[in-house]
C-alpha cells in the first residue's frame, strides 16, 4: 500500500510542511517516525488527503468477487482505507453498515515512538485482548500511523436502486423521519439542501434521496412502500458518490450531530447542507458567520450533540472556539493515551482535543 507520511499541496490551515516524505513500507514508516522522535519534529500522516484529506483499486478488485467494503467516505478514487478509518469518515453507508471501524478486523500501525504493533487478526469475531484496531479509528493519526488493515467485506446486493424527490426542507425532514420510523431496511437516506441540492441539479429547496438494496423482489417491494410515502423517481446510484464527496469539496465544512431520536436543533432552512437525518448527523457546507456558528454549536452541545469544523480557516476556528468544541472524552484519559502512544508528541500535535 502506498502511503504518504508528512504533507503539502499538503498545506493544512495555511501551514506548509517543511518536508513531504512518501513511504511504501512499514519499515520506512518506522524509520520516518523514529527520525522525527530523534529530531523532535512533528509529522502529519496523510493518505489521499480527502479528509485532512478507498481507492478504486480496492473497489475494483473486490467487485470481481462480488464483494465490497461497505464504507462510503466520498472521493473513492482518492480516499484511502487508512484515512477513512483514521478520520472515522461518515457518509451514506452509515445508516445500514454503521461505523467504518466495524468493517476493520485487524491493523498494523506504527506508534508515535516508532514501535510497529499489530492488533486484531484475520477472523471476524475476536476478543483476544484490547480492541486497539477500533481505538485507532477517529484518532486522525495522532496516536499511530496506520500501515496495514485487514478488512471485513460483505456481498454486493443483487440490486440497488436510488429514489429521489425534490421537496421543501421541512417536508423532506418530515418524510425522512416517516420513512425511517417505518422500520423498513433502507440502505441509505439523505437530504441535500440549498446550494448543494442545486449542485446536484435540483431546482427546489431540498432533495430527498433514498437508496434501497437487496434481492430484486425485495427492492421492488421497498420501492412500492416508499412511493406510498413520497412520489419519488429513480435517479441512478451514482448520485451517492457526489453526495458523499460534497463535504470534501467544500471550502468550509462543519459536521454537526445530535441524538437521532430528537428533532435536529437547526432546521437547515437557508443552509447548504447534506443531512443524514436517521443518523442524527449533517454537514453544513456554506460558511456561516461566527456568532451564528457559536449559537448552533451551543444549542447542539446542550442537546448532547456537537458541531465540529472539518474545514475552515485558522482564524475562523480560533474565533469559533476551536475545531472541536467541547471535548466529550475525559481529558485526563485523552492526555494519557496521547502521552503513552506518542510520548514525544511527534504525531500531528494539537490536532485532537487532549
Amino acid at each position: 500500500m502506498g502511503l504518504a507520511v508528512a504533507a503539502a499541496s499538503h498545506a493544512i490551515d495555511g501551514l506548509e510542511p517543511r518536508d513531504v516524505v512518501s513511504v511504501h513500507s512499514e519499515s520506512e514508516v518506522v524509520e520516518v517516525i523514529r527520525g522525527a522522535n530523534e529530531r523532535s519534529e512533528a509529522i502529519v500522516v496523510a493518505g489521499g488527503r480527502t479528509r485532512l484529506g478507498i481507492g478504486d483499486p480496492l473497489a475494483d478488485a473486490l467487485a470481481l468477487r462480488k464483494q465490497r467494503w461497505p464504507v462510503e467516505a466520498g472521493m473513492h478514487d482518492r480516499a484511502t482505507v487508512g484515512g477513512t478509518l483514521a478520520s472515522a469518515a461518515g457518509g451514506p453507508s452509515r445508516l445500514r453498515y454503521f461505523h467504518p471501524r466495524d468493517w476493520v478486523i485487524g491493523a498494523r500501525v506504527v506508534l508515535g515512538d516508532g514501535t510497529a504493533v499489530r492488533s486484531g487478526g484475520k477472523v471476524v469475531k475476536n476478543v483476544t485482548g484490547y480492541d486497539l484496531t477500533r481505538l485507532w479509528s477517529g484518532t486522525f493519526g495522532t496516536l499511530a500511523a496506520i500501515v496495514e488493515l485487514t478488512l471485513k467485506l460483505t456481498a454486493v446486493p443483487e440490486r440497488t436502486v436510488t429514489l429521489a424527490i425534490e421537496l421543501d426542507i421541512a417536508t423532506a425532514l418530515a418524510k425522512a423521519a416517516e420513512i425511517h420510523a417505518g422500520g423498513l431496511p433502507i440502505d441509505a437516506l439523505a437530504i441535500v439542501a440549498g446550494d448543494a441540492a442545486q449542485s446536484l441539479g435540483a431546482r427546489g429547496d431540498a432533495l430527498l434521496l433514498v437508496r434501497i438494496a437487496g434481492p430484486v423482489a425485495a427492492v421492488r417491494r421497498l420501492g412500492r412502500a416508499l412511493r406510498e410515502i413520497v412520489t419519488c423517481r429513480d435517479v441512478g446510484n451514482e448520485v451517492w458518490e457526489r453526495v458523499a464527496a460534497l463535504p470534501l469539496d467544500s471550502k468550509w465544512t462543519a459536521r454537526v450531530a445530535w441524538s437521532p431520536g430528537a428533532r435536529p436543533p437547526l432546521e437547515f432552512a437557508g443552509y447548504s447542507a447534506v443531512v443524514y437525518p436517521a443518523n442524527g448527523a449533517a454537514y453544513l457546507l456554506r460558511t456561516i458567520d461566527r456568532p451564528t456558528f457559536r449559537r448552533v454549536r451551543d444549542s447542539l452541545e446542550a442537546l448532547d450533540g456537537y458541531a465540529v469544523l472539518e474545514r475552515a480557516g485558522r482564524d475562523y476556528k480560533r474565533e469559533a472556539g476551536g475545531a472541536w468544541g467541547k471535548s466529550r472524552v475525559p481529558l485526563p484519559i485523552a492526555r494519557a493515551l496521547k502521552e503513552r502512544f506518542d510520548p514525544r508528541g511527534v504525531l500531528a500535535p494539537g490536532r485532537m482535543p487532549a
Binding site: 469475531k125 483476544t128 423498513l184 417491494r221 437521532p260 448532547d304 472524552v329 475525559p330
Partner: protein, 473 residues
Amino acid sequence: MRQLQEICGDDNVFWRAEDLLVWEYDAGFDRHPPSAVAVPGSTAEVAAVVKAAHDAGTAIVPRGAGTGLSGGTIACAGAIVVSTARLRRIVAIDAAARMAVVEPGVPNVAVSAAAREVGLFFAPDPASQRISTIGGNVGTNAGGPHALRYGSMVNHVLGIEMVLPNGEIARFGGTAADLPGYDCVPLIVGSEGTLGIITKIWLRLLPLPEDIRTFVAIFPDIDRGARAASAIIAGGVVPAAMEMLDNVTIGTLNAAFDVHLPPDAGSLLLVEIEGLHEETEDWAASIERLLRKNGATDVRSAASAAERELLWKARKLGYAALARIKPNNYLHDAVVPRTRMPEVLKQVNAIAERYGYVIANMFHIGDGNLHPVLLFDARTEPIDRVMEASAEILKVAIDAGGALTGEHGIGLEKNHFMPWVFTAEDLDAMRRARDSFDPDGTMNPGKIFPGGEACADIPTERTKRVLAEGMWV
C-alpha cells in the same frame, strides 16, 4: 470494611469466609475467593466503593451475574469483588433513536424484551442471555449466534458511563455518533473490567425483522456439514445465524429438551435468515439448494415461532445440558478463518480422541467461532490433562491463523497464551492503553495480560502458564 458497609449498607457487604465462597467461581473452572464483596446500589455508591478501595490500595474485580467462562471475575491478589447486579434499571428505550439506556446489571434478554414493545430488538444474544448482564456482555464483548449477521457487543454499544479506577465518573460516547475526542468505547468493550466499572450503557437497537426462517439441515458427518456452511458463506448470503451441532450434542439436547432431533445425524446445521418476506424467500431458496448440494440428507424448516424458540432454547441452554453426560467440561472459544474450518474441526476432534475425551461440538460455524467442549469427571480425571488437551486445541486454531477467543474473553483462562498471538510490542501497546486508565493496575489485576504473578496462587492458573510457555515453539 466499615467504610464499605456505610456506602452499600450492611446487607450488601460480605467478608465472612463462608459468604465469600459463593464468589469464588464463575462458569469456568478457576476458583479463588475475594477478600470482600460489595454490592452497591447506585452509580454514586460504585464510585464511593472504588474511591475507598483506591485510597486503600485494594484491587477491584467487577462482576455481573458471574456467568463468564474465562475466569474474568475471579478475584486474586487480595482483590474485592464489586458486583453490579443491583444496578438493573432500564433507564430509557428511545424508539425514535433506536437506542436503549440501561444499567449494567440488566440481563441481556430484558433489553430485547423491553425493545420488542416498540418494534425493536437488541442483537447480541449470548447463550447465557437469560441471566448474563449487559455490563458483563460489554466486558467480554459478548457475541452469540446472531453475531454472524449483526456483530458482537462492540457493534452495538454507543456509549458508556464508567467509574474510573480513581473513583471519578466519566462518560464515553452516547447518543450522538463520533463525539469530538478519542473514542474509547470500543476499547472499553472487551476490556474485561480492567479499565473501570461500567455503570450505564447506551445500546443500539434494530427494527424487528419482518420474517424469520429457521432451517435444520441434517448431515451424515461433521465434515459435510462444515463444507455446506462454507458454501453458504461463499454464496454471498449472510444468514442471521448458522450453528453446527454434532452427534453428541444432538443426543444431549434430545434428552434435556423436547426437540426430537434425528439421533443418528453426524452433524446438524441450524441456519436462520431474517429480513423482508421477499428477502427470506430469495435467500431460503439459495440456502436450501446449497445445503442439499453439499450433502444434507434432510432440510426442514421450523413450522412455527414456538418450534423455532424451542430450537434456540435447546441450542442456547445446551452447553449446560452436557453435564448430563459428564459432570465437568471445558468449553473452548477459539476462532479460525472460515476457509480453514473443516480441517481444524478434524484436528480438534482428533486431539480429543487421542486424549480419550468425549467431545461435544455446538458452535457458531458461520463466523468460525468454535466451541469444542471436552467432557470429563474431575473426581477421576486430572484437570491438568484436560488443560493439556485444551492447549493443543488452541494451538491448532492459532496455527490456522485464528484467535484465542471470539466472545468469552481472555480472563485468567488464556492470558498466558497471549504471546502465541501477539509480540511483546503488541502486548505493550495494550498495556499502554490500560495504563492510560489505570496507572496503578488496581482494576482486575492478573487478567488478559500474560506473565503476571497476581493470580499465581491459583493451581489451574499455574498449570496453564507452564503449558503456554512450554508448548510454544
